[in-house]
């Protein structure tokens, strides 16, 4: 059994991945950031924790072998395949408000990932308070030993994908990032594809 979900540029999506199922995210056009959150499908209060994920693996980026950890110290999913190589979970999602700080007040009225998250979470009875530091699949944010941090050109090519196997029933919420002020989408947001299979 496999379901396929095409996510248009700049749009959100959500779906359930049952324990044992595989979530595959394809960067159809390449260099397209996917801001992603996970919640325990049966207790939304248990959710993805970027800090627990990074500390548990002792490394600053997400790739094959990363255990996606919850806010209660449990493994939610494991990354089992990754043709791109390195994904961010430190830089969070873009918002209208943070855009004003980063790129000037004239960017306030541009669509942003947090707008997508708020609308998609509302469908599941959640609000802004439920948005935590998220995963950014296919987003390249190198952090230097001196602390310097920047969003650089994406390293994913058209068709690159990663696969995650769920270890609990999870709600996955994705914002297909609409940002046009930095290189996380090659300044040209594009569609992505999500597959869920047994």
């Amino acid at each position: 059994m496999e379901t396929i979900h095409e996510i248009a540029a700049e749009k959100p999506w959500s779906g359930i991945i049952r324990a044992g199922q595989t979530l595959r995210i394809e960067d159809t056009y390449g260099q397209q950031a996917n801001d992603t959150l996970f919640y325990n499908a049966h207790d939304h209060g248990e959710r993805y924790s970027s800090q627990d994920t990074l500390r548990a693996q002792g490394a600053a980026y997400v790739t094959t072998g990363t255990a996606i950890m919850s806010s209660q110290g449990r493994v939610m999913l494991r990354v089992t395949a990754d043709t791109s190589g390195r994904h961010d979970t430190s830089a969070g999602c873009c918002s209208c408000e943070s855009n004003t700080v980063r790129f000037g007040h004239d960017t306030r009225y541009q669509h942003a990932c947090r707008e997508n998250f708020i609308l998609e979470l509302a469908r599941h009875g959640m609000t802004k308070r439920d948005i935590v530091a998220n995963l950014n699949f296919f987003m390249n944010v190198p952090i230097s030993p001196n602390g310097a941090m920047t969003v650089d050109d994406g390293i994913s090519s058209p068709g690159d994908h990663l696969e995650l196997v769920a270890e609990m029933d999870v709600l996955c919420v994705i914002s297909n990032c609409p940002q046009i002020n930095n290189p996380c989408n090659g300044f040209d947001p594009t569609p992505i594809r999500v597959l869920i299979r047994d």
């Binding site: 800090q51 627990d52 990074l54 600053a60 602390g147 930095n182 290189p183």
Partner: protein
């Protein structure tokens, strides 16, 4: 059918980004000051609103009003201090470390930097800092990390934060990614985490100035990457200082274009909206 943006649009936005990037990564760091000397100077009794000693392993909460300064000084032997903060006006506005580091082009949060909320506003200014040894990436101790050390009875930051949040009617859903002060975690060239104890010294301290009315939670537990993580930490000295006038050329308000725009967002809230 997907419609791409034009090459001209892409080129224009790329150049604009490169200009922001050059300013944020090349020019700003050179303008920031050296760390504050150790130890913290004494303060006059009249300047202190409250003084508290948090035992090793424990937490505390406090309301920090706009303009007040929070001074934190771990006892001899050192400990990390995990911090969370919420706006009293609307607790869904809270500490946002991803924005804090992304907006300032650095994970190196030290004197002259600011701490942002998820609403593009400045919550706290780092007005004094002796070490620059703070961690925004790896979180605090948990029941699992202390159990792995064979010390399951040790108090831990995750539980402390649930208990602290309850003091404002908040719960586990409301706990953001935590700032770990006095935790010298750095990303090495291979992308792993390194613990750099030489960044810390006896007498370390920080001062954080509230830029909005805040509810603050502090957890006095050792960081899970600390080689001494299995030991009970020393007491933490917490001092809340009365507001003092902020000059127009205040370091934290003027050091970066991003902080200036953040403070403009603070001002916007005080105005019509």
């Amino acid at each position: 059918m997907h419609t791409h943006r034009t090459p001209d649009q892409i080129a224009t936005d790329r150049q604009r980004y490169l200009d922001f990037q050059r300013q944020g990564m090349e020019f700003t760091p050179k303008a920031l000051p050296q760390p504050t000397p150790r130890p913290a100077p004494d303060v006059a009794t009249d300047d202190v609103r409250l003084q508290e000693t948090v035992p090793g392993g424990w937490y505390t909460t406090l309301n920090l009003n706009t303009g007040e300064t929070l001074r934190l000084a771990p006892g001899a032997g050192g400990s990390a201090v995990s911090l969370a903060a919420w706006s009293v006006r609307d607790p869904s506005e809270r500490l946002c470390l991803p924005d804090t580091i992304k907006l300032q082009w650095t994970t190196d949060l030290t004197k002259g930097r600011v701490i942002f909320s998820d609403m593009g506003r400045v919550m706290l200014s780092i007005t004094q800092d002796s070490s620059g040894a703070h961690d925004a990436l790896t979180g605090g101790s948990t029941p699992e990390t202390v159990a792995q050390l064979g010390e399951p009875a040790l108090r831990n930051t995750r539980d402390n934060m649930v208990l602290a949040a309850a003091r404002m009617g908040l719960d586990k859903r409301d706990i953001p990614a935590l700032l770990n002060l006095f935790a010298p975690v750095r990303v090495d060239a291979q992308g792993g985490f390194a613990w750099r104890p030489a960044m810390l010294a006896r007498g370390d301290w920080v001062e954080l100035r509230a830029e909005m009315d805040l509810f603050v939670a502090l957890s006095n537990c050792r960081h899970p990457l600390d080689p001494e993580a299995g030991k009970v930490p020393p007491d933490l000295s917490v001092t809340c200082l009365h507001p003092v006038p902020v000059p127009d050329d205040d370091l934290c308000r003027t050091a970066t274009a991003e902080a200036q725009r953040g403070f403009e967002n603070n001002d916007r809230l005080k105005g019509a909206l």
